[in-house]
Symmetry: D2
Subunit: 183 residues, 4 copies
């Protein structure tokens, strides 16, 4: 059913596998940071999402679009308005957003306010504590996790980190441990 | 599990995050293969699961147990009986099994036959096309994916590969492409 | 002095850096082995040498040529004759050969017999205990090491492994430890 | 050292392999930078040298000592005096220094001034353009290269980068390309 019918957000009686179109919006964050060897600073070039999907041998029907490439500490209300608007316009009811972890929950709140569950959209935000391009990144694990949650969770806005999912308003980032926890 | 009651296999009205005990059974497979630099052959030593969970900054309540370390082409009925029995005895209703991809579906069938959905167990099998210890492995992506599906899918036996989930009797491995597809 | 004059094998009074043409012959070996994810076997595709030189930001004047892509246990006298002949014909007096470690010393002996130091050629053989494409390979270290030795050692045939250089007839591979040692 | 006599800095007639004690001084630099996942900044923890030597299956007689862990742009004259003094006191006539690339040549000049070739010491400085802990680092290649040059080059102070060696006063870092070149 790759084309033509919208996935309704709940599994039908005859569903026997995941076969659902997913939109991925890239906003930057640690996920996509790189080391600039000429300046010695961390910066952004292109997103690593396509390479990561290839590495994961992902066979989902995903389309990736980069909205911005910024550190989430620098994300403005105007940036969030763009993300909200893109999610509103997306044909796919299943949306994954890669995002810096520092203000991920703020963006989740903006999305939940503008796109309540009644709109039928399942939106999952994820990120990484270590850039994918570096060794020892959690990025590939988080991507696999978030892509799975977005296929199965009912409409709503969620954060997927540390192998867990959280409703947007029941989670906080613990800055001492670098992990997300329920509140 | 963190809070003293058994997770029932379906989300309750007040569930707002994933907080559920998960049992991981390791059986070997490509996932855990290593290159033996003295013999030049592929072989098994210890499982990489704990290292992978650490890399994924996983904060789920998981306990890992190695049942066997074998190539799934060498898995016997007796081996499968061990896996089934361990799943039956596991206190956790959420079980993840790492397994070679070649006979993963056979083991899934044995599990589905012995442990129908009425037992309340959600069992997800996953594997890897490339050993985790090598570069370019899909293992970390698959682990993140399978750990997420096992938290959210209803009781039953599933295969999680290529970012997708499949009911055990609606999937096959395409040996030309190395991917799993719905049947 | 990239072109035109032959490097004489000893530093001249006005030498102040390494600026010398080097020929690299690729013969396969563990260095270039890959994991075939469809068969689960180790096999050869293309050499990783160009990628490794790029990773090392190598700015030497090197030209790479693949002579064969085989496990050194399968190397025949005819294969060795090809290697010897290619070294004889090479315009560059500095030659690096990547080679499986199991019979590296046999090939070194064939080279030393056919191309004595009086021919002015410095030939260094190196290999790897772990394929470069896998994690934890010694390949990049060995390549950096062998490329350095070949620039500075006087004419002769050498093995470069474990950070050390050995004259071809004063070395053996210790198969218990997987290291090369002086005899 | 393995055989009881000090290596004199020139190969003896009966030398047939590298068997020489080497001192490694660690000063920090990009080589050893890490990504701090709590702050998102680059910083130093412990040196990666021992791990790198293990990865390279290095069987040289090396001893590693960390003198400082700093960005070479912050290195002061007092820091350089420490490095010079440590090199002067080292029993080993073969010394490798890991160093940030930005002021590597300044430190080399200080060493050459204080420890002329007549002291019999061969000192090689190396570094990395990308931290070893990240993917795609040149660190392991450079370490293999520098360890090899330091065994074979005559007394003097050298920079080993990009697979090449340079006398300390005939090299500059090209900041546009990130490579070292002869002057």
């Amino acid at each position: 059913m790759r084309v033509g019918t919208l996935y309704t957000g709940r599994r039908r009686a005859d569903d026997n596998c995941s076969d659902v179109a997913i939109r991925i919006f890239v906003t930057g964050g640690t996920f996509d940071k790189e080391y600039n060897e000429l300046t010695g600073a961390l910066s952004f070039k292109d997103t690593h999402l396509p390479e990561m999907l290839r590495l994961g041998r992902c066979r989902l029907d995903v389309s990736v679009r980069t909205l911005m490439m910024i550190d989430s500490l620098e994300m403005t209300d105007a940036d969030r308005a763009i993300i909200v608007e893109q999610c509103r316009q997306a044909a796919e009811p299943r949306i994954l957003i890669t995002h810096g972890t520092d203000t991920m929950i703020d963006t989740a709140a903006a999305l939940a306010s503008a796109l309540p569950a009644s709109t039928g959209k399942t939106i999952v935000l994820t990120g990484a504590m270590i850039p994918y391009a570096f060794g020892s990144s959690d990025g590939l694990f988080n991507l696999g996790s978030a892509l799975s949650f977005v296929q199965v969770l009912p409409p709503g806005v969620y954060v997927a980190m540390n192998g867990r999912w959280f409703e947007w308003n029941r989670v906080r980032k613990n800055r001492e441990t670098g992990t997300f926890e329920a509140v």
